[in-house]
Symmetry: C2
Amino acid sequence: MSEVIIMKELLGENTRIAEENRDLYKKDKVIMVNIMGAPGAGKTTLIKALTDELKSRSVESAVIEGDLFSSIDADKFNDNGVKSVEINTCGECHLDAAVIKSGYDSLGFKNGVVFIENVGNLICPAEFDLGEEVRIVCASVPEGDDKPFKYVPMFSYVDAVALTKCDLKEAVGFDTDNFRKGMDAVNEAPVFETSLKKGSASDPGVKGLVDFILKKS
Amino acid sequence: MSEVIIMKELLGENTRIAEENRDLYKKDKVIMVNIMGAPGAGKTTLIKALTDELKSRSVESAVIEGDLFSSIDADKFNDNGVKSVEINTCGECHLDAAVIKSGYDSLGFKNGVVFIENVGNLICPAEFDLGEEVRIVCASVPEGDDKPFKYVPMFSYVDAVALTKCDLKEAVGFDTDNFRKGMDAVNEAPVFETSLKKGSASDPGVKGLVDFILKKS
């Protein structure tokens, strides 16, 4: 049996479970948001800011945290009073619908927003539907303005982009027009710019992203 | 047949071809260097600096450039007078020994150093032996000082670390001691610090890395 056929079968099974997940989230009145991005793109910091902004609007949220081995990121949420579960992929490069189902069940959460922090990887997660309602890629300014041109499957896959660490634009010579040109070539998804180093309380990008997510309810 | 068994068979075949590659490089007096790292870690910029430094020491070099779809990076080398070939993985998240064999054959290069720029991914490439002599992970300062703790397979797999974009340490609050603590926990590989924004002519990290590579000849 060839690698391609096996991959198609695995993805078929994943899509079936993702559909079941989608029905479950709808029944539970949960907006499931899949946050993807490269290592160090700022996914954890962004999710913390989004949970804070939701709290200020009296919307409950929780986090399903994907990590290769450690529990560093999940600990950060628990310390912050946001309910979270850890999924250790034991080295796997993505999360799939079955592990998300299991993580979601153990959360025991209803009526609000659940964020999935995917494994730090700008390639593989774009092949696995998790049944989510919103897909966001977190792309950081220091990664460079050419990323939408180079990581086409991921930037095509998402509903919105969080362009993070925008306070570093000048330091790294980031060309925002080139980044947007790359996005326009592959996707009509909106780009929200964030700078969270000094906190998120008044960040317009975070507010915009939360508006975007809540429109899906 | 389970996913695990299939993966083992595929990796077994990869290891067999990697051994053949290793013999070939030795016969051709080529030091093969596999440069891995997350998207935007600065792999291309580092390789350009290393080829320049080798040129100043009268050592020839060439590049095998892995990209998902585009030829953006290979074009940069050809513009710079360094022989390069492009491998388009058509979305695959890593390079394997067979595609490297094919890329190497089409280079037609002997007596010097060949750099492989792997696909931007801090996870999957650490499972695929390419027959290389030296493995380097490129980790950039803005990705954060916790990466060796979180991406253990990659940081365990390498012979050396290039810590790039060190000029941004203060701007992002990078804790070098924590990074080195993470490395010490998984690997004795040396860490070379580079800052290449203003050129590489006198960068001690680049000189150190070239010394390190040439010791393998």
